[in-house]
């Protein structure tokens, strides 16, 4: 029996995707610094994709001009945090342990996107790979790996909790 034969069944996954995007957007809006940067979830994405609209205030190098490296770092970390936050996890807030960014190309003064892929979700630690791009996803401007600690254990002492 195919899924398309039953309209009620086929609408299931689509509705789930919409719920996910709504949940991610709500989560993003609860982060004051994300609001400050103007981050938004890409509406029709599969998986977590975050859009950083360009504005003049984000320029780090006025000569080139290029985006500030720190802004790209922020986009990466916040995307990783949204991705790491599990479905049932409004009470479990992931804490970023470390963030390692490789800058691949100069980021121009235009819209920037980031997508996250969960490499491994452990019981206590989540490893996320984040890719940032501008024109094409095949020409990334930065690539990063971020480790997050799930706040289920002791957030006070990450070393012990690990």
């Amino acid at each position: 029996m195919s899924g398309t034969a039953n309209p009620a069944q086929s609408s299931g996954p689509a509705r789930d995707a919409a719920t996910d995007i709504q949940r991610w957007q709500t989560l993003l809006e609860s982060i004051p610094y994300a609001r400050h940067l103007g981050l938004e979830i890409v509406p029709d994405s599969t998986g977590v994709q975050v859009h950083l609209p360009f504005r003049e205030a984000l320029v780090g190098n006025v000569m080139l001009p290029a985006l500030h490296g720190g802004v790209l770092g922020a986009l990466i970390e916040i995307t990783a945090r949204i991705a790491a936050q599990g479905e049932d996890a409004m009470e479990c807030r992931p804490r970023i342990l470390d963030c390692n960014v490789d800058y691949l190309r100069s980021a121009r003064t235009q819209s920037t996107f980031a997508s996250a892929e969960i490499v491994r979700r452990g019981r206590r630690v989540v490893l996320v790979r984040v890719t940032c791009w501008q024109d094409r996803i095949t020409a990334p401007v930065a690539s990063a790996r971020v480790q997050l600690l799930l706040d289920t254990v002791s957030a006070a002492n990450p070393k012990e909790a690990r």
Partner: protein
Amino acid sequence: MQVIGVEGEQVCMRLSPQSWMRADDDVQDICTSVLYSLADSASGLAVFAAVRELKPIATLDLRMDYLRSTAGHPALLATAYCHHLSEEVAFVRCEIHAEGEQQPVAVSNATFMRGTQNKRFQAAIERAGGA
């Protein structure tokens, strides 16, 4: 964010956290990304302090380790220094402390490519010169 001082190859920057920098509406911690920006800026400046010339540089990579909570601190200080400089690459370490505290809240290691002037940069220089 303000530069406090440049001593030899060491750069010190200070940041007074604001409410829009918080990691969540219901916590006092500063968003780690703000610390990231602070470390990135201080580290870049440390390269200029070490090479003593204003040739363009580019961040190759930056790794942050977030060690402690930043909640409840009125100011953060970032100290960056270039611990190794080769012909092409600068290696920089940065520590971020809450003002008055001994232990860092975050540490970072970064590498920068030196002398990254290209056609685009040269064109910008010429435009600026001609204007």
